[in-house]
Symmetry: C2
Subunit: 304 residues, 2 copies
Amino acid sequence: MLIRAFVPAHITAFFVPRFNEEPLLAGSLGAGINLSKGTNVFISLEEGLERHIHIAFNGEPVKKEDAVISYSVAYDILPKDFEGELEIWQYFDFPNGHGFGNSAGGALGTALSLGFALKEKTFLQAAQIAHKYEVLHKGGLGDVIAQVHGGIEVRIKPGAPGIGVVDNIFFEGYKVLAVPMGRLSTKEVLDSDVIRLIEKEGEKAINALLSNPKVEVLMKEARAFSERTGLLSGELLEIARELDKALKLPSSMVMLGKSLFALLREEEIEKVKSIMDELSIDDYHICEVYTQRPSVERWVEGER
Amino acid sequence: MLIRAFVPAHITAFFVPRFNEEPLLAGSLGAGINLSKGTNVFISLEEGLERHIHIAFNGEPVKKEDAVISYSVAYDILPKDFEGELEIWQYFDFPNGHGFGNSAGGALGTALSLGFALKEKTFLQAAQIAHKYEVLHKGGLGDVIAQVHGGIEVRIKPGAPGIGVVDNIFFEGYKVLAVPMGRLSTKEVLDSDVIRLIEKEGEKAINALLSNPKVEVLMKEARAFSERTGLLSGELLEIARELDKALKLPSSMVMLGKSLFALLREEEIEKVKSIMDELSIDDYHICEVYTQRPSVERWVEGER
């Protein structure tokens, strides 16, 4: 049996972490954007004599310890008495560690695929398992619940799917530019003194957005947050300023990766492409906002 | 400006009403199915000298008092100082009053269209306004939040979107047969003694489904609920029994309408059509489960 799930990449624009010893209550407040590119997960499940779980990233097998979140999700959802082979193939449109929610995408895609294959858990039960291991292994705090909702999202109550609350902002006529430029350790940032600035500026940003829920406010607050916390600086800030010359709304930094994003209007696309050319940046993506729920279905090769 | 929203029809399989003086806390527990047919809402918003709100059902203008829920939603969402013409055109794939969530579909479609047009409220703020007037005017308790989530849904905590919690059941390979046969007054049923049986049987059904979340359990519990409450009886029960002869899963009654529904596998469709023919029933629908969120977009005629 071959099952396929698609989970959108998720960019965080600004956030306030909400730690909790109970992983289902841990999460984040904040806002972000789900993209039409992201993570495709294919699982193949065959009964056999022994339990084996194999995980591959972009076609390359990875060790258990390098895919501990998805491995834990699979182990948790499989029935205790399951014996056989489970292969989990995860394909990422964005590089790992750059702030696009790949680990949550892999975890949620794995959870939903197994939920669909086995039909022994509900959607929220499966999604909560993905959230739990994301939090326990510090993959992220708010990506799973954001990806479950889609769209341009505002996390207004922290927690796992079914516990936290996610709202959406209406928007029209924008595509998303995403420029992955490098890795940033979420753990290092959250363990540093910057955390206090993040909490203060994150709360200001979310209050401003909720009192005037428009994409213009989202991008203005995102940029203010990224500069005031000192996270957007140096070369990345210079590139952001170059992009701004072509855009109506300010560009900003992806939380947390050395990556930039911006909302583009149709007439801004060509100008942005020229700027990327001038800066010799060729790894950039122009996507749609993904406004639907993650998909999961039986996969029949050749049908799509 | 012309905006179009689609909201799925929503069938309730079983339920437990949860009344509350605060309409955002009122709602229902239960389970149901969102359909690929439902309510299309088109709104046209033009500035002018005076505030006018016009509502039409299936192309026919209706009086304010006959569309009080959607009228209240529109009045609430329009800015206090708005002057101009708002036309709300609602088209229903199922007849009104037959249990397919038309009033919630019209209310939510109106709320989301206006939210999209004005971009002054969030998605949840708009959806909560639809829920509020549905509850206040006794259109329904759980349709709006169920329609927001899509799929085969289980309402596990009552309330408006953002307050209540809706889960989903994984399923595969089923279409939905929907047979609208007559009106049933929700108010009369809820005001009668049947309410105690509904609460008792509804709680049993939801617990059974959550302990084994499969469509097979959903349909078995739905049928048990509808018979034990006495709501499914007489001619409707006879037709349900005829349908059962062709189906793997039991058919059941739509809560609350004189209507039947069933989950169909591909190979059961022709047999079901013959039975409908034999019974001289020609108003029936075979739809997909609608697994996405309600859609809302700018409408450009001729583009789709």
